[in-house]
C-alpha cells in the first residue's frame, strides 16, 4: 500500500477472553477451528501462504499470510476481488494477543480501502470525497 494513511480506514475490535493466549492462538490458526467462528478456509500459519475465506453469503476473500508470531501476532491480507476494479476491497487484518492477569486481550485491527475510496483515487478524486463528507454531515443532522 503506497497511499498515505489518511486514505485508509481502520476498524479495531478488542476483547478480553478468560483463556490463555495458547488457546486463542489455536482458534485463530487451526482451519477447523477458524471455520467455527470465522469462515470456511484453507489457512496455514506460514508467512506467504495464500488462502481463501469463504463467507456464508457466497463471497470469497483472497488472503495471504503476512506475519506469524506464535501466541502473539497474526496478520493476513483480506481482499475482496470484484469484476469491476472500482469495487475491490483491499485490507489487512492483524490479530494481537496480549496476556492479562485473567486471560488474553485480543485486538483485531483491520485497515484498508473500501470501495468508494478506490473509486475516488482511481479517477474523479475530489468529487467522491466531498460528496461523502457532505453526506455524512447531512446524515448527522438528520439523525
Amino acid at each position: 500500500m503506497t497511499e498515505p494513511a489518511v486514505e485508509t480506514r481502520t476498524v479495531v475490535v478488542e476483547r478480553e477472553f478468560p483463556f490463555p493466549p495458547e488457546k486463542l492462538w489455536r482458534a485463530l490458526t487451526q482451519p477447523h477451528l477458524i471455520e467455527e467462528w470465522l469462515m470456511k478456509n484453507d489457512f496455514d500459519a506460514a508467512v506467504g501462504h495464500r488462502f481463501n475465506l469463504r463467507g456464508e453469503w457466497g463471497g470469497v476473500l483472497d488472503c495471504e499470510v503476512l506475519a506469524v508470531e506464535p501466541h502473539k501476532t497474526l496478520s493476513y491480507t483480506w481482499n475482496h476481488a470484484h469484476a469491476d476494479a472500482a469495487f475491490n476491497l483491499q485490507s489487512v487484518v492483524t490479530f494481537t494477543l496480549t496476556p492479562t492477569a485473567t486471560g488474553t486481550q485480543l485486538r483485531m485491527e483491520q485497515s484498508g480501502f473500501h470501495p468508494e475510496q478506490k473509486q475516488a483515487f482511481g479517477g474523479a478524486k475530489a468529487g467522491w470525497q466531498q460528496f461523502f463528507t457532505k453526506l455524512e454531515q447531512l446524515l448527522a443532522r438528520a439523525s
Partner: protein, 107 residues
C-alpha cells in the same frame, strides 16, 4: 460485502447522476424540469438517471398532477458511508462466536 453496496456504488459512480442526487440532497424535493435546467444534459437523460437512482432506492418520486417530484432517500446511503461500523459489527459478532468456541474447547 453484500451486493446491495455494489449497486449503490455503481449507481453513484456516474458523475452526472451523482450531481443530480447531490442536488436533491442539498435543495430538497424537485421536479425533472427543475433538475434539467441545472444539469448539463437533456430532460430524457435526467429522467433516465432518476430511474436508475430510484431503482437503487436513492430517490423517491411523488406524482402531483402532471408533475413528478423527486426527493433523496438519505437512509439508502447508510450502509455505504458506514463501512467502519458495519465491519466493527461483523467482528464483534465473530468475537462472540470465538468466545463460544473457546468455551467449548475446554476439554
Amino acid at each position: 460485502m453484500p451486493n446491495a453496496d455494489d449497486v449503490l456504488f455503481r449507481t453513484l459512480a456516474d458523475p452526472t447522476r451523482r450531481a443530480i442526487f447531490e442536488r436533491l440532497c442539498r435543495d430538497g424535493e424537485q421536479t425533472v424540469g427543475a433538475l434539467t435546467t441545472r444539469a448539463k444534459v437533456s430532460q430524457p437523460a435526467v429522467s433516465k438517471h432518476l430511474g436508475v437512482l430510484k431503482r437503487a432506492g436513492l430517490v423517491r418520486d411523488r406524482h402531483e398532477g402532471r408533475q413528478t417530484h423527486y426527493s433523496a432517500q438519505l437512509s439508502a446511503l447508510a450502509p455505504l458511508i458506514d463501512w467502519t461500523s458495519r465491519m466493527t459489527g461483523f467482528w464483534q459478532n465473530r468475537f462472540d462466536r470465538l468466545e463460544d468456541l473457546l468455551r467449548r474447547m475446554d476439554q
